[in-house]
């Protein structure tokens, strides 16, 4: 009888607090979005599952010595997991389209206005009672506009660990929502004639260019922005392993087994930060709103820049390409392609959009470095 009472006293039923129930529903929602809607399932499934585990009453997953506690401290507090993901992404990324058309980097640059405008917006939100974002908080929130998961997690782990859960969830959710968020903005800022513009075919790119590219990027980062070298450096390492042709077995492992293993743990660790006391706050609402704003501003800035560049360019530039500058690889490039096809069924923009798309990855890593240098 005593044992029965003890067992009952240990059940979830006897220990649930309301916040945990809500967070479990949040976790279930993430799982639903990942599995049934296909929203960034590789990350949102482990994040959602981690959220559920972290909120089990009396199970101790996030207490010192618990599974998620170890995973978070080993992988995210040290910054190692997002950097390994970045290495793997580098090993998966083909910069050919960007090397063939370097101007696309300006689209990737202007789309970062989503980040910096949101930083300002987050500070402005402090005018609303209940919000008290520090500059570090605001920077971590703003990076959502970079539309790049590992960059957001890395920066949040450095500047605002308490907000990491909400920031990561917002970043991946909006990346999945790119096909819904971007098209209206793209259409509002362009005329059908502009959307029909056909781009010139990309020039061939030599292997040598592809090998030197990551080294050149790293070199510039070393010279001008060492704070960005962890992110950019690991990304370039991955890309160098991919392109050099001498270490294919390392490159394959980096972009397959290693990134898969790290993804599982990264997701669980992010999910472990989704506790009621940290997520069920007014800040989270602010973060979600600001994240949506950041994506929208980034998209609009990219499109406007593409229009501007088109005016001065010798070769025509389809302004839709600017939307791909937010990164969200390869989703944003696909959205550009789709919206372009709606206007001109023979105009395939996918390859051209990959240029600004990968430029956006570099752009947000650079922006993260700037924020680290100024605020960190």
């Amino acid at each position: 009888m005593e044992g029965l009472i003890k067992l009952w006293g240990d059940t979830g039923l006897a220990n649930f607090v309301p916040g945990q129930i809500v967070m479990m529903l949040v976790g279930a929602l993430l799982l639903y979005l990942a599995i049934s809607r296909g929203y960034e399932p590789l990350l949102l499934l482990p994040i959602g599952f981690g959220c559920v585990l972290a909120n089990i009453p009396a199970a101790g997953f996030t207490d010192e010595g618990g599974l998620l506690w170890y995973v978070y401290h080993v992988g995210i507090e040290t910054g190692i997991f997002p950097l390994l993901i970045f290495m793997g992404v580098g090993a998966m990324t083909d910069f050919g389209a960007l090397i063939a058309n370097p101007k696309m980097l300006f689209l990737g640059a202007s789309a970062q206005f989503g980040i910096f405008a949101t930083l300002f917006g987050a500070i402005a939100l402090n005018l609303v009672p209940g919000f008290e974002f520090s500059l570090a908080d605001a920077s971590a929130i703003a990076i959502i506009g970079g539309a790049d998961g590992p960059t957001a997690i890395f920066l949040a782990s450095r500047l605002a660990p308490d907000l990491l859960g909400a920031i990561a969830v917002a970043a991946y959710s909006y990346m999945a929502l790119v096909p819904i968020i971007q098209p209206p903005i793209m259409k509002a800022l362009t005329t059908p004639a502009q959307r029909k513009i056909v781009m010139e075919q990309l020039r061939p790119v030599s292997k040598k260019e592809k090998v030197i590219f990551p080294l050149a990027v790293l070199f510039l980062t070393i010279l001008f922005l060492p704070a960005a070298t962890p992110l950019v450096g690991m990304f370039c390492l991955g890309n160098l392993m991919r392109e050099c042709g001498a270490v294919d077995r390392l490159s394959n492992t980096a972009q397959n087994e290693l990134i898969n293993i790290v993804t599982i743990f990264l997701g669980l660790a992010v999910g472990s930060k989704l506790s009621a006391e940290k997520f069920l706050t007014v800040e989270t609402i602010g973060i979600l709103v600001l994240g949506a704003v950041a994506f929208s501003i980034g998209t609009a800035s990219g499109v406007m820049m593409a229009k501007l560049m088109g005016k001065f360019s010798k070769t025509p530039i389809n302004p839709l390409l600017g939307a791909a500058g937010v990164s969200a690889v390869p989703m944003a490039a696909r959205v550009v392609n789709k919206v372009g096809l709606e206007a001109n069924p023979h105009n395939f923009l996918l390859m051209h959009a990959m240029g600004p798309n990968v430029a956006g990855v570099l752009g947000s890593a650079v922006a993260a470095g700037i924020l680290l240098a100024l605020v960190g």
């Binding site: 389209a97 960007l98 300002f120 500070i123 402005a124 920077s139 050149a216 752009g363 700037i370």
Partner: protein, 80 residues
Amino acid sequence: MDISEALATAANIMLLGMVCVFVFLGMLVLALKVLEKVAGGEVVPAVGVVPTKSNIQVDANVTAAITAAVHKFRQTKSND
């Protein structure tokens, strides 16, 4: 730090950040222009699916097997 001061700082970062991003990626544009001069020109498809090693292996295996099979078959036929 009161809110107006914080806003000023944020505006400052916004300006500075965008300038830096553009300068940095602008330098990369220049670097890529130089790179094209120096290393470009080799005519290979810019982007596209590169056959992976395993595909090649399979194809080689397949080709070898088929060559053998067809050869054998031809011999068989000629003995008919």
